[in-house]
């Protein structure tokens, strides 16, 4: 068992080939069947809402679609998120991808498109794409749409209203200086100001992403995502701003090894249990915190949200937001009914139900009013008012580049890398990809 790594990596290689053999054999029947018989089509659907209300709701949605489309069966697999990612990796390796699955967009999607695994749905879903508007951009490659986002959120600060009150902070910080002043007040009141799960790297990296968003003009960022050229000095500025934040020591003790969201001493756990006053995280945070507290309520009413503060002297739009989301994609060999199913998932009806159950932040504008949670509704407003939502850089650039970038940013948090290192190492990784 312990010969591990080598053997495991190798055995995995073996599994890939074996699966590949099975995959091609199994895939043909569902794809061919509807063409010849016109009846009995089966769609496989993988999603990650494996707890209620999401699980039950999706089962209901699938039933409704089956009823409206006689002869079509939807085979639903509700998987735990990490499980789903692992299984999807294996599915991509084997080529036996479920008909409808989740895509996070950016470089990851571009890789899947390049490997010819995803269906171009620009034409059959044109009407839905125009309804969704700008949020589809993250799932387009070379002008073609490959997936329809059903939930897009933005990253911001989640905070504990009681602790803010205790420290005498009346309004949420609007500028970086306000934020650091607030954290000094919190420290003085005996509260750790901000938790960050730098052990997992990406939560720390989000700070740099946001500071780049504040430092760089929109055009520079959008060009960089395409050209992978980081020569604009604003990227170094972002790192310098980050150094200032780290030097001000607003973070929880031991943040370098703090995990993002596993266990009560993780960054989310510390916020959920009232040990820190705030944490910068995505829209999923309330759900994560509920799972980390014994009463399954998280911070409840005490939870507030404010957007990432503006930075003095930055060339970026202070309203620009960092975010990302999940989209339904259709695999290359899926039957046409799968595309219809995805369109149905983005319909007013399904998206409204999705929003009412607080399952995420709906992308269909008609469902925006259905979000009940006040913190999420505020976040939704910031998302809709922002001039553009920048997809998380690591997702946008793909993990080969994004992973290196996150590593360097985490090193800067540890005081082991300079702002220049982040840009230089990321550029090297990007050049290797070209």
């Amino acid at each position: 068992m312990r010969r591990t790594s080598v053997t495991r990596a190798l055995a995995f290689g073996a599994a890939v080939a074996v699966l590949a053999a099975c995959g091609t054999g199994g895939e043909e029947s569902p794809a061919d069947a509807p063409a010849s018989s016109g009846a009995a089509t089966t769609i496989t659907w993988w999603h990650n809402s494996n707890t209620d209300p999401g699980k039950g709701y999706y089962a209901e949605v699938a039933k409704k679609f089956e009823a409206a489309n006689p002869g079509v069966t939807v085979e639903v697999s509700a998987l735990q998120h990490e499980d789903m990612l692992t299984k999807l990796d294996a599915a991509f390796q084997s080529g036996d991808v479920p008909d409808v699955y989740m895509e996070r967009g950016g470089g990851e999607l571009a890789d899947h498109v390049e490997a010819n695994l995803v269906k171009d749905i620009s034409a059959p879903a044109a009407d839905v794409i125009s309804t969704l508007g700008g949020s589809v951009a993250g799932w387009q490659v070379d002008g073609k749409t490959y997936a329809l986002p059903f939930s897009v959120g933005v990253v911001g600060f989640w905070y504990n209203k009681d602790l803010f009150e205790k420290a005498g902070i009346t309004t949420p910080p609007a500028t970086m200086d306000d934020l650091l002043a607030a954290s000094d007040k919190l420290r003085a009141a005996g509260v750790d100001p901000i938790s960050v799960g730098a052990g997992d790297k990406w939560p720390a990296a989000h700070y740099w992403y946001y500071l780049a968003l504040r430092a760089c003009p929109q055009q520079v960022l959008q060009d960089a995502v395409k050209s992978l050229d980081f020569s604009n000095p604003c990227f170094v500025t972002a790192g310098q701003e980050l150094e200032k934040v780290v030097k001000a020591k607003p973070f929880n003790r031991g943040f370098l090894s703090t995990p993002a969201q596993t266990g009560p001493t993780s960054a989310s756990g510390l916020l959920a249990t009232g040990k820190v006053a705030m944490e910068m995280q995505g829209h999923w945070e309330p759900g994560v915190m509920q799972g980390l507290t014994a009463d399954k309520k998280g911070l409840g009413d005490k939870l507030g949200w404010f957007p990432f503060p503006s930075v003095a002297g930055g060339q970026g739009d202070p309203a620009a937001a960092l975010g990302g989301g999940d989209a339904w994609a259709v695999s290359k060999n899926a039957p046409d009914a799968a595309v219809d199913f995805v369109k149905y998932l983005l319909s007013d009806e399904v998206q409204k139900g999705f929003a009412e159950r607080d399952m995420g932040l709906p992308t269909n504008p008609s469902a925006s009013g259905s979000v009940k949670d006040p913190a999420l509704a505020g976040l939704l407003k910031v998302r809709d008012d922002s001039p553009f939502v920048q997809l998380y850089f690591d997702t946008a650039f793909g993990q080969a580049v994004g992973g290196v970038m996150n590593d360097q940013i985490a090193l800067l948090f540890a005081g082991k890398a300079t702002p220049q290192d982040i840009v230089a190492k990321t550029q090297t990784a990007a050049d290797a990809e070209k």
Partner: protein
């Protein structure tokens, strides 16, 4: 340090394997002579018999070991994301990338540090505890069990427990030290780059000391009582007996343990992955965490397999060198005694 149960019984096996082979040869030869005089067809039958019995194991070995190794070597020559066709042949470039990567070089260094620390710390400690537990004392069985329990625990469970114990601010260890008045490091035991590797090593020692003690205790049972009694008759003190008789006779066991510990250290993965994930600031990366990170996190499967091939080569070279330079003596002795036994 880290090691395999399977390996621990495989290593002594080579010793007995050699002696058995020598012992079995004689009857086999006479049987062969008998067969030759009988019918020529029985040679084929023997071959078929061998094939029948060895075949399944051989097939499994080829499918799950040889073929995957070959595939990994093949992958390591391509730039490959883990899906899609293998077509971007890059020759040895992945190897160059890995060997020039500071993170990999640091990871290799960490593996070496763990090897050296294991020998320097766990060997004397394990030996001392084994010698103590070999004396007739009350509660001997209980003490032996206590020492060995960590080794029986699943590595993942032990890792998660230690991770929680070592938490900064809220962890039990910091709580205890706080009572005594010693403040924990600012970033915590696992979060301070300069300390993290040693913290991990401390946990590894806790986990694997039991194996060393168990092996040494087993070795001590092989030290003949007559020798010790004779020495005592001659007026040797307990210390002298240990130094001049017990420890030298324990040599082969110690050398086997060191081999297991070394291979385990080179392949170190699980404990590091759970405690630190290679962080903070890459202070605890090992070759194995490097390759997992490149493969399953960044989808650089070409680079990951190149790193795995390098890891394999390093482990192989270390194993062969150790066999050749250190263990050969033990094997040669076992072989010689076995041969003496046949005659």
């Amino acid at each position: 340090m880290t090691s395999v149960v399977r390996r621990s019984d495989a290593a002594p096996h080579t010793g007995t394997g050699v002696s058995n082979g020598a012992a079995d040869r004689a009857p086999a030869r006479s049987a062969a002579r008998r067969n030759a005089s009988a019918r020529s067809g029985s040679g084929l039958r023997t071959a078929l018999e061998v094939l029948f019995f060895v075949g399944p194991a051989l097939a499994l070995f080829v499918v799950f070991v040889v073929w995957p190794v070959a595939r990994a070597v093949q992958f390591s020559f391509y730039r490959w994301k883990g899906f899609g066709p293998l077509e971007d042949f890059v020759g040895l470039r992945n190897y160059v990338t890995v060997l020039q990567d500071d993170v990999f070089v640091a990871a290799f260094t960490h593996n070496m540090v763990i090897i050296v620390l294991s020998i320097l710390v766990q060997l004397p400690l394990g030996l001392a505890i084994a010698l103590l537990l070999n004396r007739k004392i009350r509660g001997q069985g209980v003490l032996r069990t206590v020492i060995f329990v960590p080794y029986v625990l699943s590595e993942v469970i032990a890792g998660v427990v230690w991770f929680q114990l070592l938490q900064p601010q809220y962890g039990v260890i910091e709580g205890i030290l706080g009572v005594v008045g010693i403040p924990g490091p600012e970033q915590g035991w696992l979060g301070t780059p300069d300390i993290a590797l040693f913290t991990v090593f401390g946990v590894l020692t806790w986990k694997y000391l039991g194996l060393a003690v168990l092996l040494f205790l087993a070795g001590l049972q092989g030290v003949p009582d007559e020798l010790i009694e004779a020495a005592q008759m001659d007026g040797a003190s307990w210390w002298q007996v240990q130094r001049r008789i017990t420890v030298p006779l324990l040599g082969p066991t110690v050398r086997t343990w060191a081999f297991l510990s070394m291979i385990g250290s080179i392949q170190l993965f699980d404990m590091v992955w759970i405690l630190t994930g290679g962080g903070p600031a890459n202070a605890t990366t090992t070759m194995a965490t490097y390759l997992i990170n490149e493969g399953t996190k960044r989808y650089n499967y070409g680079i990951a397999t190149a790193a795995s091939v390098i890891l394999f080569a390093v482990a192989l070279v270390f194993a062969l060198l150790y066999q050749f330079l250190v263990l050969r003596r033990d094997v040669a002795e076992a072989d010689a005694s076995a041969r003496r036994g046949v005659r």
